[in-house]
Symmetry: D2
């Protein structure tokens, strides 16, 4: 499968502590475990020409993995449109990570203010929340190989209520030590394309090194893949029967 | 309940046959049966200043009923944003009729290319499709008072596949004499607001005079109403527990 | 609305501490706030003839509220069938409370082993879990009048994963101090009938005196009510069109 | 994958015309295309000892394909329980065909009167309904390789409304020449197991020889497969955090 991992790559460039945690960027860390699983992986970042996503690359991408945060307004609208078109029309899979909930692409595909949620990140990090991610959909392909739960010792808190549409499938729920809960693994379909939102993954936490998180993201890419097909027809149609 | 019925009102202005069918416009016909049921109803059309929807009116609207077709690009983007904000943030109900599937507001709230579907309208109208609307969710408030089905002798055909997201609830399914089917009554939620899409209602057909259609739309307004409430809080949050 | 509140009424009869907490039984406490809201309420308990639910009463019940726990096998199968028939065929609303998840009626209607979940109740009660119930579906009628969350200082813990089917709508999520989460407010439809499962309500906790819990259960009865209608037809059918 | 195809095998034994159409039984026809796709297939019929489904076979079955009709009461309750346990606890996939909607196993897993629907089968068969099966979920794995629709020239009609629960996913919708529609491809999950209901497949029609039907059933087996896993824990649980 041809996977493209996109990262805003701002924290890694501008903050020494984040760079120390992810010397190759979060995209580099994520690309590594996809590559080890045998996928053909490209990484792309905001600071590259065309934000690293020229149309030819998008046209060759089966699943796009997306991490973004505060620099989201630097993503050009025409690229947002191209990405959404690839999902809806062509079935490109999309995996949106953590603060990507507020990205232009996810907001556009959700049709809601998906960036509205509670959050809390702590400095110093030692007092961050503990997150416990529970499986609620045991038969879901994305949950295979995951025990009933896994624990992330330090993560940013995201809390309900949030303004996402009800997911087609709810795969994971998160518990936070501060008293909050969150729908942490949500699937959606838009047109021919499948979308998975996964909550964990704050830049200051070693989340993408976690074996359970990696298992989830490997499963999610398999799940999100839709084989190419000739497009269905829309518009004026002759009767099928007389 | 304060209901605002919006209509593009183009066909009625520019096409004599449509004007003959709906001398007060489709909005006038729709407003009438809502008024008879005791609601406080305002009508608004594209040709009015601010497309008839000044912010003060939208702020006083509990449920907005929307009919639009080919003039949809004349609806200003800031008005689209205002309407979507009212739905998502404040819980204004929204009932989208027929070709309103392709409106800017519905496409934005769906996050998909909801305008993509099969269609067929016949001239002369005598050879239009017959549509049979079947109830599939018997306990849904919008289906109360409706027998297992109702028949519209002439309607434009809309056919699957379409690019809407899977509805939260599927209330009606339509059968067409040309061999097509369509998910004709679909509910969605976005933030605090509830949305109902209802398929029938082509301008050249007497659909809004049909008693079953009127029953559906009366039920839908009741269903879509969300009482006002102080908004939930988003953003940084202190822990609930220590 | 005619509401019947059924309770196993075992803990209240056999355990002094529970009787001290609910001197009229949990059913008495629940009946009181439904009555104060103007409903016509009957209470029924396991120790009554026909478990307090003669067919004539069930036939006159719009919404049945159900609390049961360990004595569930004493409910006769023909009564289980009658209750499920009333839901599916006639649209009687059903509100299943707390340990009622393991009742014969709920298991039968769910088609899954809804009794399988994690639980923890503490003796002495002082060390019970704290439960925080979060709203996730802001526009749902059952959540109206509820702030973003409410806190139950002491409750039995129920934890995911559980073997319920994915709910049609997820209204509430619970957080527990021991690290667990649970889908605490779930709606289902079966045939003409609507079902709401609500998690809180352990016999040793003053949960049914909580104003938020009462608001939820009042809302739930309104939501679960389906007006009577002549039944749809099944079986052999002549063609609608030639 | 280890697939077991179960068939009541009554029509084929007792009716000459059906035997002429399916000389190896419908189970034989179905087994053939699964075998050709490389699966390890066993067939089983009602007239075999233990209805051909000894526990050892069920324990070795990854996906069970089920066709039944009027002899369903001859399936022993303990076998029904065993099959449902395999689905819910162990994740055995289940594909229920056509009149299997009324089987004990499907009714039990649905928790509703799934056998209630409209139907019409014609003698002589030449005047049976035409069925057009439309794809509504374009990204669903079960729909891959299927064009927007396929046509079955003769089939028994099943019509809405029906008393199934709303499916988790609606993959196909059917149109019938008599004016009816039906939710023809529905997915459900129960516990660890995945269930697909597929409407077409009347014994008097050559449906299981249809290449599109075969493609659907091949896809469905892949979709329904859940890899084995150690069971999650239920019951009393120690706190995860102090």
């Amino acid at each position: 499968m041809r996977i493209t991992v996109w990262n805003e790559n701002g924290h890694e460039r501008f903050e020494e502590e984040i760079r120390a945690l992810y010397p190759e960027g979060m995209h580099g860390c994520i690309a590594n475990f996809y590559r080890e699983a045998g996928h053909e992986v490209t990484t792309a970042t905001l600071d590259m020409p065309e934000i690293g996503l020229p149309d030819e690359l998008l046209d060759q991408t089966d699943v796009l993995v997306w991490w973004s945060h505060g620099m989201i307004n630097e993503v050009p609208d025409e690229k947002v449109k191209k990405i959404c078109d690839r999902v809806i029309n062509d079935g490109m899979g999309l995996i949106v990570l953590h603060s990507g909930h507020a990205s232009k692409i996810f907001r556009k595909l959700m049709g809601a203010r998906s960036g509205h949620l509670k959050w809390r990140v702590a400095y110093p990090p030692e007092i961050d929340d503990k997150e416990i991610v529970w499986v609620v959909d045991q038969s879901h392909p994305i949950a295979q190989g995951i025990d009933e739960k896994f624990i992330l010792e330090r993560e940013e808190m995201y809390g309900e209520p949030t303004l996402i549409p009800a997911p087609d499938e709810l795969v994971f729920l998160s518990w936070f030590s501060g008293g909050e809960v969150f729908r942490s693994g949500c699937t959606y379909k838009r047109g021919r394309g499948k979308i998975f939102y996964f909550r964990p993954g704050h830049e200051s936490c070693p989340t993408f090194y976690d074996k359970n998180v990696q298992r989830v993201l490997l499963n999610a890419a398999e799940w999100a893949y839709t084989p190419p097909a000739k497009p269905y027809k829309y518009g004026w149609s002759a009767p099928v029967v007389e």
